[in-house]
Symmetry: D4
Subunit: 249 residues, 8 copies
């Protein structure tokens, strides 16, 4: 809750400028925007100046349009994640605006060029080409959130000289996102090379004992490199979000 | 890394034949071929004279064509694994060359007949007809990698006399690949009969408690035969790769 | 429920020989013996002439003594399963009677020699010496339940000639119990050799991927031999119970 | 292996009637029928006079036709399990003979009416209507294997009076097959009511925590009724097979 | 939060009776009692007149004594759950007061006889004698929380006539707690007999496939009886808590 | 079983008004309605005056029509759960009556407006818009079962001020249903705010480590709020059923 | 690898100041300290000025003494994690120096007071008193690594007003570590309140469905708060390590 | 089976030198040695000239002594694996001969120095000091089986320069055994550096999400390096066995 607002509210009550019943409601918590199917929390994005993000899966075209319209009405940039191409096409044609990144499966409504506010570079390191959709989601989100981004692709641990060939990118980053499927070993190796926080993103790439990403996830959680933390399987968005917060410190 | 090259490089630097900046780059690791979406590690295949292998799933037709073209340009034979028939058809018609094995789901671009370089025979033993796609992948890859291959099919343990009827194949092999789904017991029985390394390949054949191959995998890992090692579920390719390395010793 | 008793009861009510309230109670179901901590169901053992069986784990020495005393008072033979040696010693010394099989961990209170009532032989086939406690539990229970028993030990699939060396035991059995840990492959092989029902007992023998018996259990459930059914891990008692029922048919 | 044949063979060798090389081959194990994709074990069905059974999934229409033709040529009745309606239609129209049970998903090629050879009745008890495909598979197979079958449907434990209303079927059976999904409690209750072997078949009916049948499977394996053994999830065929063996004793 | 208190607080601020800084703190949330190692939430128990409950495991003797002393100082009755006998003995001898139930592993500090405030009876139905510790925990807690309790023990589904023999207890209860391990089928059967809410408590009783209570838990969650909800494995306390809330409605 | 009917039956037998054979059948348990594929238990709904509920999945259009027709013939209201839109359309057009709720996937045959018989309000609290189908199933069922329902949507714990903004709904409910996917934390927070029973419904919303609802399920089962019980994943119907029973107490 | 050193080395080789063989060895990677049983990587701690950390479990008293002595000889501060009290006592008495924190199970050899170098405060928020050992490990490590630390204990989500009562600590932190067992919901709630990175640490506190911390771990990975990343179960050390890196940015 | 012996036997039967009954027995399979509790398969070790290996766990001191005595009587070297120190002491003092390796937990009865028969070197690479017991088991067994062995310890991927510092060992090996716990990434990195078969041994080292070795196991099975096969968790013996077979090719 916004402590300054609470203090102000109490002062207003104290001065008789605000009715008690009205204060009761205000204290109950806010702000948010109510749409027909959602109560969108706009508190954080307002305060931080980052776009509002809508989780796409399970939402109909109509629901996405409702939410985007409400947020755009509030002058917010909006990012919709995990949108299938066909859904994106419908939304874009109805709204007559917006951009769609097919690899990252992201819909964007807002400024064409978001200014850089992050203090350093976020490096996004990707083990294999099959992991690219997740790495691209991370890269696009990080850029839309105002960060300088550098990417390094297809540098899995079984051909580790490929990683070393581009290690300058690793050393110059302020925070790193490492994306890998299968055994998910890349974050451990990268984590051992740098002194910065590494956010590991397991992907569902692989088959059989890869268990749809569970194996990579478990491997990252038990990494012998101490500077690794982990997010959910295929959660490129979440990694970019945390990297953004860290990069603004 | 290629140690001889590093030594040569250092000598060149020592003699002033190579600039330091240039040496820095070289030391970073190589060789590999960069395509639009991949950094293909060509180091091992170059040195060993085996075909380059591309993992098909998650790659678009365009990406497969890019990689194959780049590798063929480097005069490499190329094998693409786990390619659906429809994808294969598109790739073949675009490239105007190559062969497709529908059971093994393998695309091949290269010599029609690879010479035999393996020292002995690789026996591929398959429990049931449903396991044939995996066993065939192993057989085709092993042959394309320059091995003599013999196969024995539908010899599951519940009718063990079928196995004994063809046991000469087992005794004459230098290394064996045993493919089985369901309870995955065949590698234990075969392992008990021979004195050679047995590579067990669990398959996702079965239902219910077969857990899409996990049960066979666990059974093979806990085999009471000491000469059994295991690869991932349905990984006929990996088994053939290791068998090739062993067969060249 | 005992249908003959219900019919008799209804006749008694019809003739006025039994009060309705009393019939209400009788109909509610019986017979059983109430002890301070248990309501022992004696219905089946009474009717079948087999010993009453008490599951030992989680029961204190006092509770075991209570139950045994109550059942012996009702002239029932009693078998207590999974009793630790120290608990058994206390119970035996308190009751001043009974026998304890240390390998099978079974306490027995009853006739020294139970007459054979099963129609054929129950073969108990055991994969390794580590599986012996479970196989012995099955063997002792089957014998106490009035069956002729033959056992075959240390005939795991990795040295399958050991099994074939004693296959006469397999062919002469009316029902078979096959006990195995690790990958649990033995029931499939035995099941493929005989035309009789095979009851598979997975054991918790093994380590790592054996998952305390889960792997053997899963393997037995997915056996490619159609004449195999499975009981719980280490459940030698349950296998002997079902084999007894089958052997009386 | 067929011991009488081995003895005969050794006698033949002893008398010089059979060459050693020929005996070597014979000893290797038989009989079976080789088709292009399968080595069909016909040993057991020949000896027992039951139909040959082919596991349908993963087999193409062509492979099914090959196997059926080979077996019919050997004058065997043939049952093909788990055949999708569209596959069945193709097979039937190509072969111009055979019957298909759509609920049980079974193809049958053989005698219209198999004579009863089982000694008693097999009761098939089914918890819910969603479990009917599995229960029907068990019922059809048991009947095709020469058993008298009685079925009891939709008698799940949450309305246990429905079970008691038809309990005569339970008491008159020689062996029982109990089919249930979700929590899989029905075999425990039925097992508690009868003195005969109960074969429990878990089904994949249910959602969420039912884990596609794993929950029912685990529940049946840990049944507090001692006369229950378990087969794989949805394995109506296997239950019928074992029940047939028991019913012939 | 206590809405009446908030309104009162706002009125006080409005009238100048309370300072803003002081109101800020009050609004932050309360009440609770700070001890050296815990911040005990006393809000609910104060309002409902039930004892405060402390979760014992992981707490040292010193920590338990601290918390009990703090709460007794606030004139609260206190229940400590899952206390080993040796820990209980130390706590009791240090405090010089309190009672310990060894089966339920509960420590009690408070009134000798809690008055009945629940509107009806809570029936506690227990499948086997091994489940008694959990059932007893539920029974003692329910009684200490002011409920009339009736218990029914050793009525597992494999001898279902034992349950029917005492079914009056089931029909006369306002809410039922059903405790079972192994396959956990009892709540489904009881749920099918009554029209009241059934709270199912899985126990860790069993071995092998019982998976330390997971099997019973899964079975209860997938119960085909619609009036069953489930709590955590061995959580007799939680079941009694919810039953108390329901019984006060 | 209906005890009054049993007593009456016994009296009739006692007076000779009922034949013993006839009483035998009656005692066997009833009532139920036999349809071609189901034995519908109508005992509870008859007694409680609530609609009969049919579980839709796995039932064909024909089977649904059969059951609905049979139950409507017995003058029962009928609810069919989890019906796909296409199936619903077929059923409705065949029967020429009924209503379908597309979000809740419920078919209804019965009174347009069910009278309120529950004593208080059932609050249905829903974490995210993706959880709405499950929450709506709970809401529609609860209303059809005669309860006053209030719903609160999109109040997940990551923006907890949204929950507090509508907390009056929480405090005024007699029983609460809390629906959440992903980490499933909402029931713990709501449970900490109210003194009423909370029924937690995990949903399969989420990806990766959400494990199709298992994570939310496990989280709810281990809730640190003692007033929470849990039902199966996505089981909005079951939660509404239990809430109805509680709300009638 | 240390790029500046490599460049320097190449320059030395270029100038003939270093022999090629010697350069070969240097390039192979360094620095580390070899002890009888370990090759301790000292590269990172040297560069960052943080203590060297030794993972205690599985190491004998002798091995711990060896490593500590070697590192202290290199003038490094040393932290040994997860040391049992008895092991710690032996090590301390042998070395005659060092400190042991019994709750955190940490051994410390180095400066009594480490200077603060982190830019802000690390808040450590702990759900329950049982989670204190893990939270304390995090707190002690963070302090020994040169950070200002504030802790907030026993503020689990079921009594969420306890958290709000101390929310200033949350708002004033630069990074937050949130420690919780059972359902692990606290990081989601805290994450929703702050704009800073939240490192979630699941603990093995709980029983049954808590699955020794797996449930909390899964819940944190699927948190609906986007600013949460996760480390391994009970890994207070790892959380403190990453928080330190972030706090130095 | 030993084909030469079978041929010889058949010739003997053909010549009348062997009776048919005697041949029947011989054909049944051999050789093995029967001890009171075991049927030891000596076929393979006799033929290959390697020691006989006895799996220690679950065997009593008496059983170990029986087996060792029987095998030593047959002039076999004997290795007993996984023997606790106390058991080893008893066995050694009773037999008055033998050696015990405490780290590897191996008992050895046989030649003090086994001659080298393997063609090349087996490299054993170990990730951390906690993995040493498993790596040492592999090393001792490989040496006792007649191989030259080189070991490389504490070279986990988080400090990968330690591995590169000793890479000559990797390049000079004919076959490699790589031992690692936690995320188990080392085999992938080593596999990427060499052209030889790599046998990966996961260890149970780690905590929490390491799942007692399951995570390392899964990671190795899904390794992106194609030359990796895997054995069971902690199975250093099995890895050495297979490496021996490969090294003799």
């Amino acid at each position: 809750m916004d402590r300054d607002r609470i203090r102000k509210l109490l002062e207003d009550v104290s001065h008789g400028d605000v009715e008690i019943d009205s204060a009761m409601k205000s204290l109950a918590g806010f702000p948010f925007i109510d749409t027909p199917s959602a109560r969108v929390d706009t508190q954080r994005s307002l305060r931080m100046g980052i776009p509002e993000v809508v989780y796409g899966p399970g939402k109909s075209v109509v629901q996405i349009i409702e939410v985007v319209t409400a947020l755009r009405g509030a002058e917010q940039d909006v990012l919709v994640t995990r949108v299938e191409a066909s859904v994106a096409a419908e939304v874009l044609s109805t709204l007559g605006t917006g951009e769609y990144d097919e690899v990252a499966r992201l819909l964007w409504f807002g400024r064409a060029e978001v200014p850089i506010v992050g203090k350093g570079t976020i490096a996004i390191v990707c083990a294999g080409t099959s992991d690219l959709p997740v790495a691209t989601e991370a890269a696009v989100v990080a850029r839309r959130f105002g960060n300088k981004v550098e990417t390094l692709t297809d540098v899995g641990v079984a051909g580790i000289h490929r990683l070393f060939a581009s290690q300058e990118i690793l050393y110059s980053a302020r925070v790193l996102i490492v994306v890998a499927g299968m055994e998910g070993a890349l974050p451990s190796v990268v984590g051992g090379l740098v002194d910065k926080p590494v956010i590991a993103v397991p992907t569902s790439v692989g088959y059989g004992a890869a268990l749809e990403g569970i194996t990579a996830l478990l491997g990252m959680l038990t990494s012998c490199a101490s500077n690794v933390t982990t997010v959910n399987i295929d959660n490129g968005y979440g990694a970019a979000y945390v990297a953004t917060l860290i990069n603004r410190l």
